[in-house]
Amino acid sequence: MALLLVLQGCGGGTSSPTVEVDGSSTVFRISEAAREEYSQLNPNVTVVVDNHGTGGGFSNYLNGEIDIVDASRNAKPDEEAKAKAQGIPWSRFTVGTDGITVVVNPKNTFVKSLTVEQLKTIWEPDSKVKTWNDVDPSWPAQPIVFYSPDVDSGTFEFFTEAIIGKARQQRDDVQPSSDDNTLVNGVAGDPDGIGYFGYAFYEENANKLRAIPIQPNSDAEAVAPSVSTILDKTYRPLSRPLYIFVKQASLRKAAVRGFVDYYLGHLDVLAKKGGYVPPSPEEKEANQKALSSGQAVPTTSEKDAA
């Protein structure tokens, strides 16, 4: 008991300068690569990266516990308002792009491409689609098995907003999982399966899955996801930018500044290590501008936040 009280008296913390990063498990892989490379160059700076989810990252940021938020979505208006109100504004930088890939089993040879409209009818809540035949009469009448990230995933939120138009609304009878590798195994083992997840998971398992080219609307062509189509944004609408939000006050600390400089200067290598496509040259320029000006990049999204 006495021991406990004594221990309570000493606050915690590592001895060397520390950079605390937390947030999305998607962006985690890029930040982790950055930590690894940076620590080799600068072993006396301790970088710690956590993955409590984008919401968790922002919450911890607003509690004053971290310097950088990894985010697979833009900040919500109330999150930004709270940050400003507490006097800890941030700067937003783009660190990579992810293309959400819709996959089917390789034995499924009849689905050549899907339009956004078709995807919507397949995945929307109360959907009438039960078999492949319901989507396109020329396809067989096999029942479809749906694999999807779970309702708390950033991928899920983005997909539903982009395809169905309302965030987090999706049909009920899916097989959800928080682990994307499980979804990979699910579709790979099920000839009637259809699922979606980040591009890296498709790329690593390209021999077990077949990616479906997406047609944004009836005039455009169907575009298959690949590094180049995600980079030049022709793979639409399922390309999403990945961000980090850095506390401006922390940027004045040498340790954090050094890390962020390194991070933004090596995005080509780091994003790739994380399994993502690096940001476009324009996005990189915007990063450098934000870094040097020290101004907060306007972070509320153009459409209403979900």
Binding site: G55, G56, F58, V151, D152, R168, D172, P176, S178, T182
Partner: protein
């Protein structure tokens, strides 16, 4: 069975008549120290209740869901507007997993314990008991992957040829895997209690012509019953509170169904999903996890109070 029921209670003061003030001081200090240890458990419960209640109240305030709807609602769809926060599907999922896993673990655990204490030769027991205890130490995520990669394919291979569709995430897998995980709780603790039954009791039964089966089930087991039941309750509590294995094995679809081959969601997996998810902290969806946690706490409390009442009628005292 507890000896403390017949032991005359002697207060610490009366225990010693001669002795230095130092010894008396040390004795009191130790008593206080031990009391503080017991107090830690009470403080833990207080802490949990405080944290859960404060946020639960905030949840009900922010979301506008009434307590009645929360407790009796059968739909859990936070994404709808207005959102539906009915907890019954989660309660059902928890009960299904708890019942299924204890149905597996209790018989196997008890029979193993009887085997280890009554039938097994000493060196076999010394080998098998630690082996079973190792089952308790396998990380729960390994059990989850075990369910996905071995148990579910096995279930599919058995049941799909006869026409039953087995989903990738199903409750039966979770029950099997959680059941295996809690076997050591029952077997090791029961075996300890069974072994501690005095040999004299067994010898006198053999002397009267009882067979080994009769001695094990009619003499030894009743004598050790309270310890065995304590291990049962510990195992059941663990099954109710199990999280990671169920997340990976049973999926996350909150619904009330009798089909074991389909996915369910329990109260614990809901809490984990919301904690690690993308909901912003402070939103009603996030706060709902505290309300669910509170409900779980109350549920297990009622279970324990009930079993305490039942147990007190069946204690057997022996000396």
């Amino acid at each position: 069975m507890s000896p403390t029921e017949t032991r005359p209670f002697v207060s610490p003061d009366e225990l010693w008549s001669t002795g230095s003030p130092l010894r008396s001081f040390a004795e009191s200090a130790i008593t206080v120290g031990l009391f503080l240890c017991a107090l830690v458990t009470v403080l833990t419960t207080t802490g949990i209740i405080v944290v859960l209640s404060v946020e639960s109240v905030e949840f009900f305030r922010q979301s506008g869901v009434s307590l009645f709807d929360f407790l009796t609602g059968t739909e859990l769809k936070p994404e709808l507007s207005p959102p539906k926060y009915g907890i019954l599907p989660l309660v059902w999922g928890t009960l299904v997993i708890a019942a299924g896993s204890t149905m597996i673990a209790l018989p196997i655990g008890l029979l193993s314990a009887i085997y280890l204490s009554e039938y097994a030769p000493k060196h076999v027991r010394n080998l098998l008991k630690p082996a079973l205890e190792l089952l308790a130490g396998i990380p729960t995520i390994v059990y989850g992957y075990l369910a996905l990669l071995i148990v579910t394919p096995m279930l599919k291979a058995i049941f799909e040829p006869i026409g039953i569709r087995v989903e990738t995430f199903n409750a039966l897998s979770a029950c099997i895997v959680v059941g295996v995980m809690i076997i050591p709780l029952v077997s090791s603790l029961s075996e300890d209690v069974l072994s501690a039954v005095p040999r004299g009791l067994r010898e006198s039964a053999y002397g009267l012509g009882a067979t080994k089966f009769e001695v094990s089930t009619r003499i030894v087991l009743p004598a050790a019953l309270s310890g065995v039941v304590a291990s049962f309750i510990l195992a059941l509590s663990r099954a109710i509170g199990e999280t990671m294995a169920v997340v990976l094995a049973a999926g996350m679809r909150p619904r009330i169904t009798l089909n074991p081959f389909t996915s369910v969601e329990t109260m614990t997996t809901y809490i984990v999903a919301v904690t690690n998810g993308e909901a912003s902290h402070g939103s009603p969806k996030y706060l709902s996890l505290f309300a669910v946690g509170m409900a779980l706490f109350v549920m297990t409390l009622m279970l324990n109070i009930l079993s305490g009442l039942v147990l007190r009628r069946y204690r057997e005292v022996y000396q």
